[in-house]
Symmetry: C2
Subunit: 369 residues, 2 copies
C-alpha cells in the first residue's frame, strides 16, 4: 500500500482491514480456549478502537493511568482495570469515586503501604473498588514475589477493598528467545500466588496475565492454565519489535508512519550511502532494545537499516545492492514500539486499500496521571 | 527544591529562576563575542519562553518544522529559520506563503532536487524566502559536503530563492570528549563552505552553527570564527545528557519531572534493590545514548541509576550505601533529553523557590510537519 496523496508527512496511518483482522484473530483464539481478553488500550488510546475490541468480545479494558481510565469511561467503557500500583492521595481518591460512578473499576496493588494510604483517603468507598495484587514473575519491575501476595491482599482487605485476584506483566518476554520462557515463568508465578491467596482465605476470581508476545502461548495452554484473562496491547497494530521477535508477520502490521525522503547521499567520499526521512523520534518514539536492528523498519525495504534517529530525521543506510530512493519519495516506517508512536500524535489517518477513510482522535494521548 | 503539593505526578516542572539565568548567561556570552543567538525552540515549544529569549537579545528563532514556525509566528515571532531541508509540495508552498506574510522566513536546503521541486511550487514567491545551504560537518545526517555547497546554492538561486548563507548541525558533539572536536570540524566545514559560495559569487551574510554542547566553544573563538550566529536549544533547561557530557552543572538544570515512588523492593531474594517511579518513557522520553549512565538522573540522588524505562515506570537501582526512599515519596528526575520530554505534555508547571507560579501551554507540541 502506498501513502495517500492527501497525507502530509510524517503521519501515522492505520490500515483498518489489517487492524480488524488482528483484533478478531486474538479475540477468536482466546475465545476458543475460554480465556478472557482485556486489551491494554494504552497502546492505541483511541475510543473507536476500544469499541471494536469490545465488540469482538473483550471482557473489559486495561489502562495504565487514572487519566486513561477517565477518557475511556467518558467514551462508554464500563469495566476498566487500572493495571498499575497507584499511590492514592486525596485527589486520586476523588477521581476514583467519580470514575466508578459509571464503571466497574479494578486496581493493581503491590505494597502494604499503598493499601494503607489508599484506605486513609478512600474510606468506606474502597468497597466499591476491586483489587488485584501485582506479582513479579521475573521482570523485576513492580509487583511482589508470589510468596508475598497474601500479605498485600490482607492489607487491601483491611483497607476495605474487594480483593479479587492477581496479575502480572511478563515484560521479560520482550527479547529474542524469551517469550516461551517468560510465559512459563508467568504461569508458575501466578499459580503460586493464587495458591497463597486461596490458602489465606481469599476467593480468587480473576488471574490476569499476558503481553502481546505471550498471549498466544497462554491461550495455547488453556485448560492447564490458572490464567483467566490476558492483557495484550500491541497485537492490534504489531510493530518492529514484535516482528523482530517473530511474534507477528509483516501482513499483521497495521500501523506505519508515512515519511518523505528529504535528504539523499550517494557517492560522497567518506560519508555513508544513506537517505534521511522526515520521521524522527518525535513521531516514531526512540525505544531501541539492544537486540533490535535499528530504530524501526521500512515496510517495503526490509534490508534498509535505520541507524540513527534525531527528533525530525531518521538516517537510513541503504543496502549496497538496492537503488537508493529518490528525493521526495514517500515510504512507510514500522516503529519499534507503537505505544510510544501513538502517544506522539493527536490524530491518526485511517486507510483502507490505499484510500484515506477518516481520521481518529487519539483521545487519551498524554494522559500520564 | 521539593515538588509542590499541588502537582499530580508525573509532571514537568520548570524552575523559572534557573531558566532565566540560563537564558541570560548564553545571551550575554554570545553578545560579548558579537555572535548572534538564534535559539532552537523545538526544545521547549513554548511561546512564553521564546519571548524571554528574544527579550534577552536573540536575533530570531530556529524551528524544525513548518508547523512549529506557524505556531511561533502566530505568537508574534518575526524572524524564523526553519533549519530543515523541507520537501516543498503544493501544500507546503501555500503554508510558506501565509507564514511569510508576517515574518521573515529562512529555510534549509541540501539538494538540487529539493530546490527544483520548491521552485515549481513556489514560483515567483520564492524570492520572498531566504535559503541557507546545509553543510555536513561530520554528523553525516542531512547536509552536503562543503565542496558541494555552491551547487545547491546555484539551484536555490535558479529556483528564485535569496541565498544568504550556510548552516550546519554538529550533532556528533553529543558524545564524551567530542564537543571540542565537533566544534573544530564545524568551524572548518563552515569556513570551506563560505569560501565556496563566495567564489561562486554569492554574498554570504549568515553563517549558522552551534548546538548546546558547542555554542560556548564557538563563542569562545569569536573574532577568529566565520560563524555569525549559533542555534543552541537545550541550554534553556539543561538535561542529563548535557550534565553527563560536562556541558552543564546541576545548578543549571531548570527542568525536572516530578515523580512518585509507587513500588519499593528491598530484601527480596533474587531481585534487585530498587524503587519504581511513576515517570516512564511517556513523559521522560526514551533517548538513551550508549555512553549515558541510564534513562536520566535523579536530582537529589546522583548515585541512583535508572536502569529501565517502561511507558509508566522508571526502575531505579538504589546505591547500597543509601536508604531506599519510602513509598509515596516525591522525587525529581532529570530527563536525558528535554526536547523529547517537553513534546510529551500539553502543559508544564512553572515553579519558583518551591512555589507553583503558573502553567505554560506547550503550544507547538506535536507539530511534526
Amino acid at each position: 500500500m502506498s501513502v495517500p496523496d492527501a497525507l502530509d508527512t510524517p503521519a501515522i496511518m492505520i490500515d483498518r482491514l489489517v487492524m480488524e483482522r488482528n483484533i478478531s484473530r486474538m479475540a477468536d483464539a482466546l475465545k476458543a480456549k475460554g480465556v478472557g481478553l482485556r486489551p491494554h488500550v494504552k497502546t492505541h488510546k483511541v475510543p473507536e478502537i476500544a469499541a471494536m475490541q469490545l465488540a469482538a468480545g473483550a471482557v473489559g479494558l486495561t489502562v495504565a493511568t487514572l487519566g486513561e481510565a477517565e477518557v475511556f469511561a467518558a467514551h462508554g467503557a464500563v469495566d476498566i482495570f487500572i493495571a498499575y500500583p497507584l499511590w492514592i492521595g486525596p485527589r486520586e481518591a476523588n477521581r476514583l469515586r467519580m470514575l466508578s460512578a459509571g464503571a466497574r473499576v479494578s486496581l493493581g496493588a503491590d505494597s502494604v503501604e499503598a493499601m494503607e494510604q489508599a484506605g486513609r483517603h478512600l474510606g468506606g468507598f474502597a468497597g466499591e473498588l476491586e483489587v488485584l495484587v501485582e506479582i513479579d514473575s521475573g521482570h523485576h519491575r513492580s509487583g511482589v514475589l508470589p510468596q508475598n501476595a497474601a500479605r498485600v491482599a490482607r492489607a487491601a482487605a483491611a483497607a476495605g477493598f474487594r480483593v479479587i485476584g492477581v496479575f502480572t506483566f511478563p515484560g521479560h518476554s520482550y527479547a529474542p528467545g524469551m517469550p516461551v520462557k517468560a510465559a512459563d515463568a508467568e504461569e508458575s508465578a501466578l499459580r503460586q500466588a493464587v495458591a497463597s491467596l486461596t490458602e489465606a482465605g481469599f476467593e480468587v476470581t480473576r488471574v490476569s496475565g499476558g503481553s502481546t508476545p505471550t498471549a498466544a502461548l497462554t491461550a495455547g495452554r488453556a485448560g492447564d492454565s490458572v490464567t483467566t484473562e490476558v492483557r495484550p496491547g500491541v497485537y492490534v497494530f504489531g510493530d518492529a519489535q514484535q516482528f523482530e521477535l517473530g511474534r507477528c508477520g509483516l501482513e499483521e502490521i497495521a500501523l506505519t508512519v508515512a515519511a518523505t525522503v528529504v535528504s539523499r547521499h550517494e557517492g560522497e567520499a567518506g560519508t555513508p550511502r544513506r537517505v534521511v526521512l522526515d520521521a524522527g523520534s518525535k513521531i516514531l518514539g526512540s525505544d531501541r532494545p539492544a537486540w533490535a536492528t535499528g530504530f524501526g523498519r521500512l515496510m517495503d525495504h526490509l534490508d534498509a537499516r535505520i541507524v540513527a534517529l534525531s527528533e525530525h530525521h531518521a538516517t537510513v543506510i541503504w543496502p549496497e545492492d538496492a537503488a537508493v530512493p529518490v528525493l521526495g519519495e514517500r515510504l512507510r516506517v514500522i516503529p519499534n514500539h507503537v505505544c510510544l508512536a501513538m502517544n506522539l500524535v493527536d490524530r491518526v489517518a485511517v486507510v483502507s486499500q490505499g484510500e484515506l477513510e477518516c481520521e481518529w482522535h487519539v483521545a487519551a494521548r498524554g494522559q500520564n496521571n
